[in-house]
Symmetry: C2
Subunit: 513 residues, 2 copies
C-alpha cells in the first residue's frame, strides 16, 4: 500500500518528460501512461483517470492518464497511445511538458442544459470550441450527446450547433456557383452511387467537389472504394486543381479538418446510438457547409435495419434539414429511398469499384439497382443545379450515362486525381449456393457486412462478397447465392465458417405451390 | 497497413487465452489488452474500444479492449488492468474465456428516458441490475447519469431507483430495533464526528452499526481515520459480533457489497458533478437501507464550497430524502450545518484521530467545533431512537460525553473490532505563520485538502496538517496558522512549496482600526 516518496520538484516551472510510443491502440481516445511513483505524478497529484495536458512545440492535447508499474516505463517517461502520438506529431524521445489542463468552463453550459436551460449561441460555441480542441473527456462527450438527445434541441439550438461546428474547422471556398453536393444518411452495404453521380453531374458542366469518408464500421466507405480507382488522399490545393479542371472530384475528406467537432462527437454517438434529429442535422450540414456547398441532395434510406426506420421520422428530419439549411444559405433537398437490402452486387472496396465501372461502362452485367439509384440522384442534382427543368433531370442523367459522357468524365477525374487504377482481384473465393429452391424473402444487411469484414474488407481491399441475387428473386436448389472473396486462405475459411453458422443471412421462402 | 492473417478458429467454442497482470492502473474501468493481430481479435472482429466479455470460473466481467503491438504481449495472451484483475480474482497464467458480451437490452430504457419516456419500476430495475453487474461502459454510465440529471427524475422514479439499487446488493438484517445511522452529505475537511457520535449513542444503549467509506478525493475518509484507532476491515459476521456486544461499530463498508451500483455510478457522477436530487437521495438511502438502518440522521453542510450550496436546494433535497425514506420504511431527519470551514484541528487520518480522542477524553485542547457538532448529531439520534424526549437529546449527549461513558464505550468498541491502536506521529513538520497581523476572513477548503494530500495523506497516514485557528480568529504577525506533517522530508518540502505558492489558503483581513 505504501509507496516510496518521489523526488519532489521545487520550482514552479512545467514538468518535462520524454515521450515513448508504447504501442497501445485506444482507438480515438488519447491516453498517456506514466509511472504512479514518478516525480510528476507524485508532485502534481496525478492518478489513474486524471486528465493531463501535454504540450509539444506548438501542439497540445488533453489525455486520460493510466498509471503503470516499474518495468513498462522509466520515471521520467510518458508512454503515448497511438491516437495521442498522432495528435501530437511526436517522435521517440521528444521532450514534452506535462501540466494540469485548464478547467473546462464550457461544461457548465452542458450542466445547465441538463438542468433545463436552453443553449444560447455563445454557450454552444464555447462547448463546440472545447470539443474540437479535444478538451472533453469521453464521459463529458457522452453527457453532451445525451443532453442533446431525443427532442431536446430546439430549431434555434440546432442552427447554433451547426454554425458552431462549422466555425470550429476549416471552410473551403469556391468561385464557382452553384456548388453541388450529395449525402447519404446511414448507408446501405454496396450503395456506392457517389462516383457515378459525380461523373454524370460534372459531365453536364456543374461543379461537384465531393469529399467522402472511409469505412468506420462498414466493409467499405466511399473513399475506400474510390481509392481502388484513383488516389483519394489529396490536399485542398490538389483537390482544387482537379475541380477547376474537371468540375468534380471524389476525395477523402478526413484530412481536411471540415467540422472536426463532428468527427469527435461521432465516436460517442455511434456506440450510444443516440443522435437526435438536431444532432444528425448539425452533423450533416456543418460538414457540407464546410466543404463550400450551396445545394445539397440528401438520400435517406428508410427501412427496419436502416438508420432512419420510419417514414414519420424521415419527414421530421427532412423538414429540419431543409429549414436549418435555408437559414445557413444551403439549399437542401431530401430524397427517401428503399433501405431494405444491399445495393449492387459487390460488398467491399474492390468489388464495389467493379460495380461502379460496370455501370459507367453501360455493361450488360452492371447492377440495375445501383444504376437506377445513381440516375435518380444525379437527375435531382441536375435540376437543383439548373441544368434541367423540373421533371427533366432523370432523362438528362440517363442520356449522359448512356452516351458514354459520364464514363469519359469519370476517367478524366481519375486522371486528374493522380491516375486511373485497376482494382485488385481476390485470389481466394468460395461460392455459397441455395440449399433448396425458393424465393429470397429477406437479406440481413448487418450479418452480410460482418461476413465481408471477416473476409478482410476493408483492410484487404479485394476481400468482400458478391451477391448474385436480390429480394424477390426465385432461385433453384444449388444456384449460387453469393461468392466470398478473400486475399488469404485463412480469412476465406473463417468468413466461410461464420457464413455457414448463419445460413439465414439470405432467407429463402417456399414458393407458393 | 496490411497485417498478416491470423490463424482462424474454426469450431464454434469460446476462445481461450492466458491472463497476464500487465501492471496498468486504469482506476475503476476494467480494461483488457490484446494483440490486434491475435487470433481472437482477428476472428471475432474485436478492435480497440470493443467491449469484450471475460469468463474465469464462476466470475465474468465486461471490459474495454485496447490493442497492443508485438513486444507487450504474446498472441494468446490477454493483459488485464488492475481493476479487471481484481474483479476476476485472476492469477498469472490463468486461462480465461473471451467472447462477445450479450447486448445490453436495458440501455433501450435509458434511450427511452432521453426521448421523454419516464422510467418504469421494471425499466429501472433492469438498468441497475446491468450496471451492478458491470455491463455498462463508461459512456453508457455517463449517458444514464445525464439522463437522470437535473430535475428529470420524478418522485416515483426516485423511489424505484432507490429500491433497485438496494435490491442489486447485499442487505444486512438486525434483530435489534431501532437501528440508527448517520450520514454527512458532501463532507468538510476534518469533519470526523462519526466515531464520537457512535460512542455516545451506543453508550446510551442504542444500536448504531456504522459502515463508512475511505477517502476517494479527500485527505481522509471516516474509515481511514477510524483505522488509526482500530481495525476496520471486518466481514459481516465480525461486525455483527461487535454490534451484539457493544451496540455500535465503525467499520469500512467497502467490502460488504451494499448498493454496488452506487459505487459504480459514483465514479461517473463525481467527474461530471451531475448528481441530481433524485440520484443523491437514491445513493444515500440505498446504502443505508442496505445496512439495515431504520432511523437515519443526515447532516447537510451548506456553504459556497460545500456540495449543497444554497438553503433552497437543501430544503428540496431534505424533503425528498424524508419522503422517499418514508415510502421505504426508513425514518429520515435532516440537519443543516455550517459548511464554511474545516472542522477540528487535524486534516489527515492520524491527525483527525487525535482530535477524536481529545474530544472523547474531554481534554482541554479538544476542538470545540468538532465536539459541539458531534453532540448536536448525537442528541438528535438519541431523540430519534427514543432515549431522550424532544429537546432533551443534546443534554443527554453532553452528559454521556462529560461523564466518560462515551470514552469507555469507544474503547470497548475498538477492543471488540480487534484492539485499540495508537495513531502514528509524523517525523517531519513545518510551521506556517501569519505574514502580518489580521483576522482570518476565509479558508479555502479545497486548497487546504490539496496541501494535506501533497504531504501524503491518506496514503501516508501520519501526514496532513493541523489548523491552529478558525474563521474570525485574530492573529498576530508571526503567530502559527497551521503546521504541516509529513512522513518524508521530500513530501514536507513539496507540500510546503505549494503552500507558499498559495498564501491565500488562509486569508487575513486588516482588523478594523
Amino acid at each position: 500500500m505504501r509507496r516510496a516518496a518521489a523526488t519532489p520538484k521545487l520550482d514552479d516551472g512545467p514538468h518535462r518528460v520524454r515521450l515513448h510510443r508504447i504501442g497501445i491502440d485506444t482507438y480515438q481516445e488519447p491516453v498517456v501512461f506514466m509511472r504512479a511513483d514518478s516525480a510528476v505524478c507524485r508532485s502534481e497529484g496525478f492518478e489513474a483517470q486524471s486528465r493531463v495536458k501535454l504540450t509539444l512545440a506548438a501542439r497540445s492535447l488533453v489525455a486520460t492518464l493510466y498509471t503503470v508499474d516499474d518495468p513498462l516505463l522509466a520515471d521520467a517517461q510518458a508512454g503515448l497511445s497511438e491516437a495521442a502520438w498522432m495528435a501530437l506529431g511526436a517522435r521517440e524521445g521528444d521532450e514534452v511538458e506535462i501540466s494540469h489542463p485548464e478547467p473546462i468552463e464550457s461544461f457548465a453550459f452542458v450542466r445547465g442544459k441538463v438542468y433545463g436551460q436552453p443553449f444560447t449561441d455563445t454557450a454552444i460555441e464555447a462547448v463546440i470550441r472545447d470539443i474540437a480542441a479535444g478538451r472533453y473527456s469521453g464521459l463529458e462527450l457522452a453527457a453532451f450527446v445525451t443532453a442533446c438527445g431525443g427532442g431536446s434541441l430546439a430549431r434555434d439550438e440546432t442552427v447554433a450547433l451547426t454554425r458552431a461546428m462549422l466555425d470550429a474547422g476549416q471552410r473551403l471556398e469556391w468561385t464557382q456557383s452553384p456548388v453541388l453536393d450529395k449525402h447519404c444518411v446511414g448507408g446501405l452495404p454496396g450503395n456506392r452511387t457517389t462516383p457515378i453521380v459525380v461523373a454524370i453531374v460534372a459531365a453536364c458542366g456543374l461543379t461537384i467537389p465531393k469529399t467522402s469518408s472511409r469505412a468506420i464500421t462498414s466493409p467499405a466507405g466511399t473513399a475506400d472504394t474510390m481509392e481502388m480507382l484513383a488516389p483519394v488522399e489529396l490536399d485542398v490545393a490538389a483537390m482544387r486543381r482537379v475541380v477547376e479542371r474537371e468540375g468534380g472530384c471524389v476525395v477523402w475528406g478526413g484530412a481536411m479538418s471540415l467540422s472536426p467537432a463532428d468527427d469527435i462527437l461521432i465516436r460517442v454517438e455511434r456506440p450510444l446510438d443516440f443522435d437526435s434529429p438536431g444532432q444528425l442535422v448539425a452533423s450533416i450540414l456543418s460538414k457540407k457547409l464546410a466543404a463550400g456547398s450551396t445545394q445539397l441532395l440528401v438520400e435517406m434510406p428508410v427501412g427496419p435495419t436502416a438508420k432512419v426506420r420510419s417514414a414519420d421520422n424521415a419527414h421530421i428530419i427532412a423538414a429540419l434539414l431543409e429549414d436549418v439549411g435555408r437559414t445557413l444559405d444551403l439549399s437542401v433537398r431530401v430524397l427517401q429511398s428503399d433501405g431494405l437490402q444491399p445495393v449492387g452486387h459487390g460488398v467491399g472496396p474492390a468489388l464495389e469499384a467493379f460495380d461502379v465501372l460496370a455501370v459507367l461502362d453501360n455493361a450488360p452485367q452492371a447492377p440495375a439497382d445501383l444504376r437506377e439509384r445513381s440516375l435518380r440522384l444525379a437527375g435531382e442534382l441536375l435540376e437543383m443545379g439548373g441544368r434541367a427543368a423540373a421533371g427533366q433531370g432523370l432523362a438528362l442523367a440517363r442520356e449522359t450515362l448512356a452516351s458514354g459522357a459520364a464514363q469519359r468524365k469519370f476517367m478524366a477525374i481519375c486522371a486528374a486525381q493522380g491516375g486511373l487504377r485497376e482494382p485488385p482481384v481476390a485470389a481466394y473465393r468460395q461460392v455459397f449456393v441455395a440449399p433448396r429452391a425458393g424465393i429470397i424473402s429477406a437479406i440481413d444487411n448487418r450479418r452480410l457486412s460482418r461476413i465481408a469484414k471477416l473476409a478482410g474488407a476493408p483492410r484487404a481491399p479485394a476481400a468482400g462478397l458478391q451477391l448474385h441475387h436480390h429480394l424477390g428473386d426465385r432461385v433453384a436448389r444449388g444456384e449460387p447465392l453469393f461468392t466470398l472473396h478473400a486475399e488469404s486462405p485463412g480469412e476465406l475459411v473463417y468468413a466461410g465458417s461464420y457464413a455457414n453458422l448463419h445460413p439465414d443471412v439470405i432467407r429463402l421462402e417456399e414458393p407458393a405451390a
